[in-house]
């Protein structure tokens, strides 16, 4: 029996990465254009659907039909303040509409063949994510020599709630993947790191590790405990809108001010100039991670042959980003506070995300903790590698090394869970960052005279005012004997099992009857919806396959025509009739291909056979 493979997927906000356990180590799989990471981007053009690098290129040209930043929408309601805020801030230049309370992306597509008319199509965040996952799946299959790959571990941010995790799993199902586990991103990073770590420091137990994840658009901090029997998440914190983009924005603002000062020109109204400046800032930022000083010149920036020449030292760079950098440190501090730990208890600091390469960040961390952060892993790939390690453990492949270091994962609840009580107050039953499985019971009393039933609204979140949090379920317990307020009581038990499923048991103490609910979220897709989406994905795949077949046939025809022409040009006598005949025939074919780029496969193949016939008539062997 062929050995079953399982892949690890880091489905990121801006970039995604896929890795597999091979030859005793996690290996990042390179995509079709040679990238080790793939932009989390899907574009719908006139003729085809593009995913990854090809889609990212379309971003500037077709902003309305190039879908990106979809992770910020996953598992959220349309009225979620974050969705509304992102929508207003122009995070999504494409159309986001409300469909039964959930946000969906609306794309206008032009049909090439069937009907020459525009057609609108709607996609849920799950479907878009499924397209990215499908691309990664294909990438893995090609690397593993077309073995079908179905089993995978997908990482999610530690703060993702049940709904968001289920949405991620649904996306995988639509893409034809079987999710072995949704793993917390910091845990995955620790895993990639922990395997190395435990090898080097055998015998040491109970290490605390801080994961500092500073990416393109988000910042996350997590504190983990690596014990002899596993990894436990102690606390998480972060800012979902803090990242490398902010650093670029600070730099652009700085240079604009300088330009205003020295040249007395306001360039903010000229999008082309701003774009050139923004592009230069990204380069300067990268250079300053290794150089102390750099300069750039933008030719004819002001017109009239006047150039812009600017210089930036690392010191100035650090100064203009001071508040951004310090914000990461203050979030780190408050996360330590959440974990009830002192900074001296942290044994190691692990860096994740591209922005963690900035020297000042590393220095701030070093100054605060009194020790240098660990830099032995590539921050862009570490999460996917951790997922691949976990996947290999779950399906039991690999060599004795990973058996020896097999880790049991203890997850924690990402957000507090509680019940709304009188005055819209939140009565928290399970605090956030509680290791799971866990179980707590609390007693509630009636709040008015002769009350015969109590409605329990279950909320998830950290706000004091219950209605500010996310409502995850609602259940009514009735059958109380009419009596004075506060005389009737009910016990409510919250239980989270090892796989993170929340069940709530209610007990009427008057009658001793019980009622139990499992939290099913209305935000998540129903089974039927998932099924329809799988079917839609299949249709898309069929369309893509057809397109690819047609395109391959076109390439084959073109390649053959060029080959014949080259042969005729190079090998045949100038005056021979065969030369002229062949050149005429190939030119005709090439002109036709130019004007018919989207014909059916059979059409191209037919033309190729015709050309082969022509070649045959001249008794030439090519």
């Amino acid at each position: 029996m062929a050995k079953e493979n399982a892949i690890g997927i880091d489905l990121g906000t801006t970039y995604s990465c896929v890795a597999v356990w091979e030859n005793g180590r996690a290996e990042v799989i390179i995509n079709s254009v040679g990238g080790r990471t793939t932009p989390s981007c899907v574009a719908f053009t006139k003729t085809e659907r593009l995913i990854g690098n090809a889609a990212a290129v379309e971003l500037a040209r077709h902003p309305k039909s190039t879908i990106h930043n979809i992770k910020r929408m996953m598992g959220r309601a349309y009225n979620d303040p974050l969705v509304q805020e992102n929508k207003e801030n122009g995070m999504w230049p494409f159309m986001v509409v409300n469909k039964n309370g959930s946000p969906v992306v609306r794309v206008t597509m032009e049909q090439q063949h069937q009907q020459q008319q525009q057609q609108q199509q709607e996609f849920s965040p799950e479907e878009i994510s499924a397209m990215i996952l499908g691309y990664l799946k294909t990438t893995a299959e090609e690397y593993l020599q077309q073995r079908p790959v179905e089993n995978c571990v997908i990482t999610v941010p530690a703060y993702f709630n049940h709904v968001q995790r289920t949405a991620t799993t649904d996306a995988a199902i639509i893409a034809g993947l079987h999710v072995l586990e949704t793993l917390n991103e910091p845990t995955a990073a620790a895993l990639a790191y922990g395997v190395d770590y435990q090898h080097r420091n055998k015998g040491k137990t109970n290490n605390h590790v801080l994961i500092f994840d500073f990416g393109g658009g988000t910042f996350d901090v997590s504190v983990l405990k690596i014990g002899p029997d596993g990894i436990a998440v102690q606390a998480t914190g972060g800012d979902s809108k803090l990242g490398g983009e902010d650093i670029n924005q600070n730099m652009v603002a700085h240079f604009m001010q300088q330009i205003q000062h020295h040249h007395d020109v306001d360039i903010s109204s000229n999008p082309k100039s701003v774009q050139r400046l923004r592009d230069a800032c990204e380069r300067v930022k990268r250079t300053l991670s290794s150089a102390m000083q750099t300069n750039f010149d933008l030719i004819n920036f002001f017109g009239n042959d006047k150039d812009l020449t600017m210089e930036l030292t690392r010191a100035t760079f650090d100064y203009i980003n001071k508040s951004t950098f310090e914000k990461t440190l203050s979030i780190t501090k408050s996360t330590l506070l959440d974990a009830a730990m002192d900074k001296s208890e942290i044994n190691d600091i692990l860096l994740v995300g591209g922005s963690s390469r900035i020297p000042k960040i590393r220095q701030l961390i070093q100054d605060y903790f009194g020790k240098a952060p660990n830099q032995s892993v590539n921050p862009d790939e570490v999460v996917a590698c951790g997922a691949a390690i976990q996947a290999s453990i779950l399906i039991n492949i690999g060599d004795p090394i990973d058996l020896e270091t097999r880790l049991v994962l203890h997850e924690v609840t990402p957000l507090s869970l509680g019940v709304r009580i009188i005055g819209d107050a939140m009565c928290t039953q399970i605090k956030r960052n509680t290791p799971i499985p866990t179980k707590t019971t609390q007693r509630y009393r009636t709040t008015s005279d002769n009350q015969v039933s109590i409605q329990f609204d279950i909320y998830q979140g950290e706000r004091e005012q219950a209605s500010e949090n996310t409502l995850v379920g609602s259940v009514t317990l009735d059958g109380f004997h009419p009596s004075r307020r506060g005389r009737s009581m009910a016990d409510v038990t919250f239980e989270i099992n090892a796989s993170g499923l929340l069940t709530i048991q209610l007990k009427n103490l008057d009658t001793q009857t019980t009622n139990e609910i499992a939290i099913n979220n209305t935000q998540n897709l129903s089974k039927k919806q998932v099924k329809t989406m799988i079917e839609t994905a299949a249709i898309f795949k069929a369309r893509d396959d057809l397109f690819r077949k047609n395109r391959d046939a076109r390439f084959a025809l073109e390649a053959y025509a060029y080959k014949v022409r080259d042969f005729a040009m190079d090998e045949l006598m100038e005056t021979s009739t065969s030369k002229q005949g062949l050149i005429r025939a190939t030119t005709k074919v090439m002109d036709w291909v130019q004007s018919h780029p989207n014909e059916a496969k059979a059409e191209y193949e037919g033309r190729k056979r015709n050309l082969e016939q022509v070649v045959k008539t001249y008794h030439i062997n090519i």
Binding site: I30, R36, R61
Partner: protein, 159 residues
Amino acid sequence: MKLQYNGGNLKDDQATLESLGILPYSVIVVSGDQVLNEQVQQTASGNEEEVGCLSRIRKIMAESQPLLSRVSYLEQQQQQQQQQQGDGMDAAQQQATKDELLYISEVLMRALLALDGVECPSSFTTARQERRQTVHFCQDLLDRVDGLKSWAQQQQQKL
């Protein structure tokens, strides 16, 4: 110059060998163009790197050059239409023109950004001169495309 390992380009300058999975006896492919002596002598600085800059600039130029004829063609169309003063284009034609203009301006903008990314120290006068010319070429063309864009806009409003 590119470093390749295991079929992928190595992009992270700061990565450790360990994190990239490079072990003893691993094979790393270095790919780049070989510089000829004559080419070096043609540059002002006599530095091999300047040849590299020049070849990058010329490659960008080669990609933008063909756009010139496409812009000229559109301008001819514009003139013809203004002379005739008559009926405009139909909707499909308009859409095609709009798409073409968007495409051209996008390619030119990308060329411009790529040119900004070619780092030429001040001693590389040959490369700098060439870069300056190419930037001007792209910018002039972009201005012409902008002119055509507003014309296309007017046409659409007429319909």
